[in-house]
């Protein structure tokens, strides 16, 4: 098992390197000239060619590509992502608290999604074909076809305005979590619930269930075996849900004015603040790669057959 972990992490490293390279390249592709943006932000009225050239040399932007890349990479590892073109503040000081806020939202939503989909998935699998099953499937289907921000707006209007039970936006205390978490959960639980349900259903038809029953084992022991096997598939998928959620909360954050990565990235995009965009991509892509590896490791821990694959 340890060997598998080592091997898996080893394959993640070159991927991380590649991710950083592509992220750096993205910046190179941008049509805007970073030197101009910096000068613009500094409020310099007249930008002459000499000023451009000297600033470029000053910022070290005239060095060869690889040198700049390595320099950038090393500073990233020190969490120094440069300064925002817009505010001049160090990017990390903007990114870190936003990341923390988004992380809080992601974890709470993730927990709710996992709990809800397992609950509903097992329930509906056991009552396959019944009214409960069909009703739950129908409702989750419709909810998943709704734009999440529309649902969010409707909920905000009803609970926050009409009933005045919950805050409409911002992050001040536990009640602010309710609506955003609800919206995200509703949007994603539909997919994960279906997966849990089909996993449980296919396991219920397996031979080991027949053999267990034929051997006279009590239903609850057999149910435990079924759940163990169905959750295996579920867990690796849930593992990936966290980083996906991290990146996809953009719309909900925007709607609820949640001070997280989503809001930060939108502001950065609209104001073409490249250092922030770059850091955002790097952090999330790296999290993605790492969580992918983690999900594979957890999966291998649960399913010994997979350990042979590497």
């Amino acid at each position: 098992m340890i060997r598998y972990i080592m091997k898996r992490l080893a394959t993640a490293l070159p991927l991380l390197l590649l991710v950083s390279f592509v992220t750096f390249m993205l910046n190179e592709l941008s049509p805007a000239d970073p030197v101009r943006s910096v000068l613009h932000e500094q409020g310099v009225p007249v930008i002459t060619e000499e000023l451009l050239a000297s600033t470029r040399a000053e910022l070290g932007l005239d060095r060869p590509f690889l040198v700049r890349y390595l320099d950038w990479l090393l500073s990233c590892l020190r969490l120094d992502f440069g300064a925002s073109y817009v505010s001049g503040k160090p990017v990390w000081s903007l990114l870190a608290p936003a990341f923390a806020n988004t992380f809080k939202l992601t974890i709470s939503s993730g927990a709710a999604i996992i709990a809800l989909s397992i609950l509903l998935g097992v329930l509906c699998a056991r009552r396959e074909g019944s009214w409960t099953d069909r009703l739950v499937r129908g409702i989750t289907f419709l909810l998943a076809s709704m734009p999440s921000y529309w649902l969010a707006a409707l909920l905000v209007w009803y609970f926050a305005v009409h009933l005045d039970w919950l805050p409409t936006s911002g992050l001040d205390g536990y009640s602010s979590y309710v609506l955003p978490v609800l919206v995200i959960t509703v949007a994603y639980a539909g997919i994960y619930f279906r997966m849990v349900r089909s996993s449980v259903l296919s396991n219920m038809n397996e031979d080991y269930v027949l053999y267990g029953r034929a051997s006279g084992l009590p239903e609850r022991k057999i149910a435990a075996h079924i759940v163990r096997n169905s959750l295996q598939v579920a867990i690796s998928v849930f593992g990936m849900a966290i980083p996906i959620l991290l990146g996809s909360t953009v719309v909900v954050e925007n709607l609820f004015a949640w001070p997280g990565l989503g809001s930060l990235s939108i502001k950065a995009i609209l104001s073409r603040d490249f250092p922030v965009i770059q850091a955002y991509v790097l952090v999330l892509a790296a999290a993605f790669v790492l969580f992918n590896a983690l999900a594979d490791i957890i999966n291998a821990a649960l399913n010994p057959k997979l350990r042979k694959e590497l």
Partner: protein, 273 residues
């Protein structure tokens, strides 16, 4: 002690979703200490019959008819009581060993859970009995084998594990659903050997399902031939094979096919040397 271990009469099994009749008015008996083989092609209803005896068909299949095991009518027994009989009085052995055990647990888990459920022995005693049974079916290093996952063991070994479990539980009736079909020729031979020994040791009755007449010859006393859900032939194996009795044309086909193969084989072996 009764002479008949299992008496099935008027068994009908149909698919409630499609209305198709899978087993039609089957009636047969398995006497104490005897082995009844059910032969037929796939789709003839033999596996469905087996599972119907234990009432373990999938939910969509409905059944009616009397099933009497050692004097107790199983068809009207409430589920909790029937569950107690499964494993203790009747054991099933499945075709695919690798699928019969939970793939996420070592095989020992299922064995221990079953023994605990029916015999309620302590951990040491359970291990000792399982060890003895596994040695009896010629599984080397039983303790290590019990700690293997199903995918790490061969089909033949897994079949023998199931037989070992039966040895520990000591049921009156063993239902074997195509146990050798998924095995290669050598494993088939070995496992059939174990089935013969099983009968000798436990003096139990057996219901042996197969599509292979050759496999069945070693183990069975009586034969039942099924086709399209109906029983078309019944009788003692030796009598039917020897040709002393007039047989149903389908049975004739099966026997002839087998004998032709056998003849060719002996010819090749004899002629080659």
């Amino acid at each position: 002690m009764e002479q008949t271990v299992l008496a099935v009469s008027g068994l009908n099994v149909w698919d409630s979703l499609t209305g198709k009749l899978l087993v039609q008015d089957s009636s047969f008996e398995v006497k104490r200490g005897s082995c009844l083989a059910i032969i037929g092609e796939s789709g003839s209803g033999k596996s469905v019959t087996c599972r119907a005896v234990m009432r373990l068909n999938r939910q969509a299949l409905r059944q009616e008819g009397e099933i009497v095991l050692s004097g107790v009518n199983l068809s009207s027994l409430p589920e909790p009581e029937l569950r107690k009989k499964r494993g203790k009085q009747m054991c099933m052995i499945l075709q695919h060993g690798m699928r019969a055990f939970d793939p996420s647990c070592v095989v020992g888990v299922h064995l221990r859970e079953t023994v605990a459920e029916h015999l309620g022995l302590g951990r040491e005693e359970t291990t000792a009995r399982l060890k003895r049974a596994m040695e009896a079916v010629l599984l080397k290093d039983p303790l290590a084998v019990m700690n293997q996952y199903p995918h790490q063991l061969s089909g033949g070994m897994l079949q023998r594990m199931m037989i070992a479990l039966a040895l520990v539980l000591e049921p009156e009736l063993i239902i074997a659903d195509e146990p050798t079909t998924a095995l290669d020729a050598i494993a088939q031979y070995e496992v059939l050997e174990q089935f013969v020994r099983l009968r000798e040791r436990l003096d139990c009755s057996m219901l042996f399902v197969s599509h292979d007449l050759g496999a069945v010859r070693k183990v069975a006393d009586e034969l039942l031939v099924m086709r399209h859900g109906e029983i078309v032939e019944r009788g003692e194996l030796q009598e039917l094979m020897s040709g002393r009795r007039p047989v149903h044309p389908y049975t004739r086909e099966l026997i002839d096919a087998r004998q032709t193969l056998q003849r060719h084989f002996t010819q090749m072996m004899g002629g080659g040397s």
